[in-house]
């Protein structure tokens, strides 16, 4: 059985992350999933949310937009349009954005289901951004 997973997070702009990890937690559409080495081949859609992986140097966290992941016994490829690491997040800006999005969600005045889905995805991403920074600082 494979000892490590090669995790690659790829966006259209760049390869955001590429390293060996021993565990990955992904925001799958059917719920959060924990991937260990030796996983069965699986293709899954991802919600916007946070990705956590365990590297030799400790945990790494990312906030991603929706996308999908291709999972094999020894590799995980995450394909998303946007990915931010803990250093890319501007906390002040992120908090303001989140509260605005929550307000809009409370009002709940959407023209269509698509719009609601879009807003929901934005909200998830905004939450993930704050979550990863908070987790990272708590650990330090």
């Amino acid at each position: 059985m494979a000892e490590a997973i090669r995790l690659e997070i790829v966006t259209p702009v760049a390869a955001a992350f590429s390293d060996d990890v021993s565990e990955v937690v992904l925001p799958g559409v059917l719920g959060e999933m924990d991937v260990m080495p030796g996983h069965v081949p699986l293709m899954t859609l991802l919600n916007a949310g946070s990705v956590r992986c365990v590297t030799a140097a400790g945990d790494r966290l990312f906030a991603i937009s929706g996308g999908f992941a291709e999972i094999g016994p020894d590799r995980v490829t995450v394909m998303v349009e946007h990915c931010e690491g803990t250093d890319d997040v501007d906390m002040e800006h992120a908090r303001i954005e989140l509260s605005e999005l929550e307000k809009r969600m409370d009002v709940g005045d959407f023209a269509s289901m698509e719009e609601l889905h879009e807003e929901n995805e934005k909200l998830r991403r905004a939450r993930a951004r704050i979550e990863i920074v908070e987790k990272a600082t708590a650990r330090r």
């Binding site: 690659e8 790829v10 259209p12 760049a14 069965v40 293709m43 859609l45 999908f68 291709e70 349009e81």
Partner: protein, 290 residues
């Protein structure tokens, strides 16, 4: 013969123009390098996307997603044209737009409706001049390689396609080969063609799918189309900078030639004046000797 002062002024203006063309060349070279880096950075995503969608496409048809709808007799088509906002880039826009004109003329016979959606000021000016139908207005988007722009273009095209308003979506852009050569290229964006993937070596693996194969494919198609548009935008921007760099390099060299020939003319004119003056002096002194 023109007078020396006039020629000297012309040399000065040519030199000034040359300074500008040289600066533009350097700027274009720097931007080209950045654009090429962006192309390289996007390749893993585009390639993986193609691989996965290709794999899922193998036994997909219209039932699975409206984007496979492929009528025998397509009635209406949309051509997305990628041009630049700015000029001074040699034949970059004109070669592409010539191709568009030919396509529109020929397409008028096979399609009932043929509309365009144009990115870039140069292209918009052209379609207005040539009276080519613009069916989607993209004038709010700048001619930049940006994921947001790509996503907006892809969404507009997919919406009209899914609504049944158009049967074909093509994209026309300059494919980057080198700074010297850019090739205007047509690519079919929609409907998706499962056959287009088959010549690549896709080994169907035994995957499990979450939520299920159809839904996964349905959700991936918009991402896939966006990535295709983004790739075209990247190529197009790299081509623009390449074309501009070459054009400005040529302009700088031409200015050099012009300066050389003007300097020669100027020296001749000056020599002529000196000779005439000398002759007058000698003639004068000969006359005095009497």
């Amino acid at each position: 013969m023109a007078n020396v002062k006039e020629i000297r002024n012309r040399v000065k203006t040519v030199k000034n123009t040359q300074k500008i063309t040289r600066a533009m060349k350097l700027v274009a070279a720097a931007k080209l390098r950045r654009a090429q880096d962006a192309v390289v950075a996007s390749r893993p995503y585009t390639a993986k996307m193609r691989e996965v969608v290709g794999e899922l496409c193998l036994n997909a048809d219209e039932e699975v997603s409206p984007f496979f709808r492929n009528p025998e007799q397509p009635k209406s088509a949309l051509v997305i044209v990628l041009t630049s906002d700015r000029g001074l880039c040699g034949g970059y826009n004109s070669a592409l737009l010539r191709k568009l004109k030919t396509y529109v003329r020929e397409g008028a016979e096979s399609y009932d409706e043929l509309g365009t959606a144009v990115i870039g000021r140069k292209g918009r000016e052209f379609v207005r001049r040539e009276n080519i139908t613009v069916s989607v207005d993209l004038s709010e988007y700048p001619a930049l390689a940006d994921v947001e722009v790509a996503s907006a273009i892809a969404t507009t095209a997919m919406d009209s396609f899914a609504a049944g308003e158009i049967d074909r979506v093509m994209i026309l852009f300059n494919r980057f080969q080198s700074a010297l050569s850019q090739v205007p290229t047509f690519e079919r964006l929609l409907p998706l063609d499962p056959e287009a993937f088959t010549n690549e070596d896709i080994t169907p693996r035994d995957y499990k799918y979450e939520p299920n194969e159809q839904e996964l494919l349905g959700a991936l198609i918009p991402q896939y189309v966006t990535s295709q548009v983004y790739a075209a935008l990247l190529e197009s921007v790299a081509s623009e900078q390449g074309a501009r760099m070459t054009a400005m390099d040529n302009a700088t060299n031409n200015a050099n030639d012009l300066i050389d020939s003007l300097t020669l003319q100027m020296n001749r004119a000056r020599q002529a004046i000196i000779t005439t003056e000398l002759m007058e002096i000698t003639a004068g002194s000969e006359a005095l000797k009497g």
